[in-house]
């Protein structure tokens, strides 16, 4: 691959991720509206929101780490997208692989945590403490899934993982060959997206939206952009591990949207768990299912 093509991909991959992420946010809101029998927002609403937030006149900063935190939160995901192969574009997926991607996805969270920390609001700090705790909760089943997939395909290179699945057709998809791990992965996905019932760290009524409590204007806009990336990344990662990645853009997008729709639909049906309930749940069922799946995969 020539360096020009690569550079082009490195620019295009985050851009596509952002646009698709915008539509995922739209879908999230539309699903919510349908379940609550509302009309829901128009198509361009997520974009309008971002533009509005970025161009607000009052932009309150609590210090330079607050600013850098938002930059890291957005920038970390921009970088993570280049490690995530999509149809026709591999980016630098072969130079990082699955393990690097998993850890790269923690960089935005760290940036957000640092930014919120400097806001000097206990509600925000409590929110971050809870967010990190829930990361500890959902990452345990998640890494079991990652290990199982890497072991089954014999590689951590996402390009190869996708290629192997596509070579086997639908029967070769991870969800068919490793159904238990796929279920455990779906569980972890729900936690990873921070949607109900696992949104204790936002808890609007209790800690005033936690990490977002001091965020306004472009700071909130940054988090909005981050959410677009987050939904996209989680969806694409799941599709790459279990649903054979994308043969072409049409199938790819259908799969990704379908995957992301599941946690969103679940989200609107459940109340919220307490932190310790969430940990107990995450460390029990998905871990047990994941370990069982791992045992099947390894023998």
């Amino acid at each position: 691959m020539s360096i020009q093509t690569l550079l082009m991909e490195l620019v295009l991959m985050p851009l596509v991720a952002f646009v698709v992420g915008l539509f995922m946010v739209l879908m999230l809101r539309r699903i919510g509206a349908k379940l609550q029998r509302r009309v829901g927002p128009p198509m361009m609403q997520p974009l309008y929101d971002i533009v509005k937030l970025y161009s607000k006149k009052t932009q309150i900063s609590h210090g330079w780490m607050h600013d850098i935190g938002i930059i890291m939160a957005v920038g970390g995901y921009v970088a993570a997208e280049t490690l995530l192969p999509v149809p026709g574009m591999d980016g630098i997926a072969d130079k990082g692989g699955l393990v690097t991607l998993v850890y790269m996805m923690m960089v935005p969270s760290l940036g957000l945590a640092l930014g919120v920390g400097q806001c000097a609001n206990p509600n925000g700090s409590i929110g971050i403490a809870r967010a990190l705790t829930s990361m500890l909760a959902y990452d345990v089943p998640f890494v079991i899934v990652v290990f199982g997939v890497a072991w089954y395909f014999g590689t951590t290179n996402l390009v190869d993982i996708i290629a192997i699945q596509q070579a086997g057709g639908v029967a070769g998809w991870g969800a068919i060959t490793m159904p238990l791990l796929a279920i455990a992965g779906l569980f972890a996905l729900q936690g990873m997206l921070g949607k109900q019932p696992f949104e204790i760290y936002i808890a609007p009524a209790e800690i005033a939206t936690g990490p977002m409590v001091e965020m306004s204007g472009k700071y909130l806009g940054g988090l909005f952009v981050m959410q677009c990336f987050q939904l996209y990344t989680a969806g694409v990662l799941y599709v790459s591990l279990f649903l054979g990645g994308g043969e072409n853009w049409l199938f790819f997008l259908i799969k990704v949207f379908a995957v992301v729709a599941i946690p969103m639909t679940v989200a609107f049906l459940f109340p919220r768990y307490k932190t310790e309930q969430m940990i107990r749940l995450m460390w029990k069922w998905p871990v047990m299912i994941g370990l069982l799946g791992l045992a099947f995969v390894m023998h």
Binding site: S61, V74, L98, V143, L294, M298
Partner: protein, 623 residues
């Protein structure tokens, strides 16, 4: 004179000079220059080390008919680089205002400098040991030098040091027993003789050897269940001493482990030793000890409220990654383990420097009495930030690379549970270090800290050097991996074929040059987006959402205590203090035995015992 002669003589000279000049205010600067000199002598050796040859020491000593010799190979050289680097930066940190303040507050700066030099000197002797007798003597020297440095602060530090020396002596006895056992079979203590005799030993004999040597070395490394001494002993040592200890001291145990259990006995032999009543072998056992050493101390660190203790407990946990990678025994895992020795040393040193910088300005390391210092001490904040990202093992810092190697090795070798344990340790570390930086530097600035300033340059400079080192070896891990490859070939492990950016594997590569490049490009885009938005206005920290209330300086508006309350609701009952209980039970049993013996001697017919002993001795001598 060989380069090793020069190095050891110069190191001894540093010690002597500090003994004489340590009282003067320029002693710290002299020491720093001399450590720099030692590093230069070490650098002089580099071309021979790269060639794979061994640098010998001219002096050889004969003791009880045993020839003692010293030499440096790639393994010694690698650990010596870290030792001297840590010594140099620690004494630099102490050379200016920190030392001055320490002395004014009644601290014994002379003792601190001397003890640090003694540690460096004795570690070099240990690293150079050319046979088991020299190894044992070096081991004892290091133990006593560490003890000396631990006692500098007095008070609680003395208690911690006494606990350490009790553990260290027990460990040394185990090592001595192992050496005697080997000597009785090999008839000598040269490495060559031992390598020859090991294949002839029966499985139970090797079992004993591994248990004795392993336990002795495990004490120094702070592996479970011998971990209790380490945190307090390191944390109570004054600033530069704690950084030095944290960076390298416990790694001497790992060095000796590699030398005896990997190089002399061999990992393959360990795999042949099965553990009765289980399906594990000796190597699995070590891997599990390593994983438990990662998990338990990390989650003990999570509960600490003193920044120094928090770091010291993490130090124990991080040692587990090194051992875990090493005992995997493949090219990737052992490279990760060895690389982590270097990476962790840089992270831990910078973290201790930052914590002691905060202590220097505020007088406390209590995580409930700090906060908001980022605006007052921005460089220290950055030092801690770089350090925690490295310690937690996230990109783009060097700690990520070494852990990546260990993870990949566990994935390739098919060890899901060990892998899970290692990741659980990493997640715990992320939680814990966020608490550290949040409670110290983020949140609300306390009224009493409004006047605080950044620490002076003599303390900032070592932090900046370490930061640059952490980032540079994170972007280009190949720089250190080249050394690691030399070590691997020197001790007979499979050698990793690295690139400048990491490693290329058919089953998933790592190229940090690209990964970090893309990450910073991402940050650039994030910044572009951010600064394209509206103009920001900075507000006072009390201009905050407080549910309709107005905040004043009297309001405590910083969330610090019981930081992970939700998590602790669940896992608090799991902290049972079993090891502390075990330790105190052992202590009590010893006390009871001692008092029984005392009663036996003191109150019952002492003259009779004397007579019996004399008669028995005479009979033995006559027969």
């Amino acid at each position: 004179m060989t380069p090793l002669d020069e190095l050891l003589l110069f190191s001894g000279l540093t010690l002597v000079l500090l003994l004489l000049l340590g009282r003067f205010s320029y002693a710290g600067k002299v020491a720093t220059v001399f450590y720099g000199g030692q590093l230069l002598f070490l650098a002089k050796m580099a071309d021979r080390i790269v060639d794979g040859s061994i640098v010998t020491f001219s002096l050889q000593v004969e003791l009880f008919g045993q020839q003692m010799s010293w030499r440096f190979d790639a393994l010694s050289w690698f650990f010596a680089v870290i030792t001297l680097g840590a010594g140099l930066l620690s004494s630099w940190y102490a050379s200016g205002e920190w030392g001055e303040r320490f002395r004014r507050r009644g601290g014994n700066l002379w003792l601190l400098h001397v003890a640090l030099a003694a540690n460096v000197f004795s570690m070099l002797i240990l690293l150079g040991s050319g046979d088991l007798l020299a190894l044992f003597i070096g081991w004892e020297l290091v133990s006593w030098a560490s003890f000396l440095l631990m006692t500098v602060a007095g008070g609680r530090a003395i208690q911690a040091a006494m606990r350490y020396i009790t553990y260290a002596m027990s460990g040394a006895m185990a090592i001595l027993a192992g050496i005697v056992l080997l000597w009785s079979h090999a008839g000598g203590l040269q490495y060559g003789q031992i390598i020859d005799v090991i294949p002839q030993l029966s499985q139970p004999q090797v079992w004993w050897l591994v248990a004795l040597f392993g336990a002795g070395f495990a004490v120094k490394m702070g592996l479970l269940p011998f971990h209790l001494w380490q945190a307090a002993a390191y944390a109570e040592t004054p600033g530069p001493g704690a950084a030095f200890f944290g960076a390298i001291s416990a790694r001497m145990g790992l060095y000796a482990f590699i030398l005896v259990l990997v190089q002399l006995i061999g990992l393959a032999r360990l795999s042949e030793l099965t553990i009765p009543f289980t399906f594990l072998d000796m190597r699995d056992l070590w891997a599990w000890i390593a994983v438990l050493t990662i998990i338990l101390p990390t989650y003990i660190a999570l509960r600490q409220n003193d920044a120094r203790y928090l770091l010291a407990w993490h130090g124990i946990g991080q040692g587990g990654y090194m051992l875990l990678g090493l005992v995997m025994g493949d090219a990737l895992g052992s490279a990760g383990g060895l690389l982590h020795v270097f990476n962790y040393a840089t992270n831990q040193a910078v973290l201790f420097f930052a914590v002691f910088a905060v202590m220097f300005r505020t007088g406390t390391a209590d995580l409930n009495k700090l906060g908001g210092l980022i605006t007052r001490m921005p460089i220290s904040f950055f030092a801690m930030l770089v350090g925690i990202i490295g310690l937690a093992g996230l990109p783009p810092m060097n700690g990520f690379v070494s852990k990546w190697f260990v993870y990949r090795s566990l994935m390739i070798e098919g060890e899901p549970l060990l892998f899970l344990g290692a990741v659980i340790g990493t997640l715990g570390t992320i939680l814990s270090v966020y608490k550290l930086i949040h409670n110290t530097f983020l949140g609300q600035l306390r009224v009493e800290h409004v006047e605080v300033r950044e620490v002076p340059w003599s303390m900032v400079a070592p932090m900046i050097i370490l930061m640059l080192l952490i980032i540079a070896t994170g972007v280009a891990p190949g720089l250190v991996l080249d050394w690691v490859a030399l070590v691997q070939s020197a001790v007979g492990l499979p050698v990793v074929e690295n690139t400048l950016g990491g490693v290329e594997l058919a089953s998933g590569s790592l190229d940090m040059l690209w990964v970090v490049g893309v990450l910073f490009a991402g940050f650039g885009i994030g910044a572009l987006l951010f600064y394209s938005g509206g103009r920001t206005r900075q507000v006072h920290q009390l201009d905050n959402y407080a549910g309709g209330h107005f905040l004043t300086a009297e309001t405590r508006y910083h969330y610090s205590d019981n930081f992970y309350a939700g998590l602790m609701h669940l896992i608090k009952p799991w902290y049972r203090g079993s090891f502390v209980w075990l330790e105190s039970t052992l202590g009590s049993l010893l006390e009871i035995a001692a008092s029984l013996m005392q009663r036996l001697y003191g109150t019952l017919h002492p003259s009779l015992y004397l007579l019996v002993t004399v008669v028995a001795t005479l009979t033995w001598v006559l027969l």
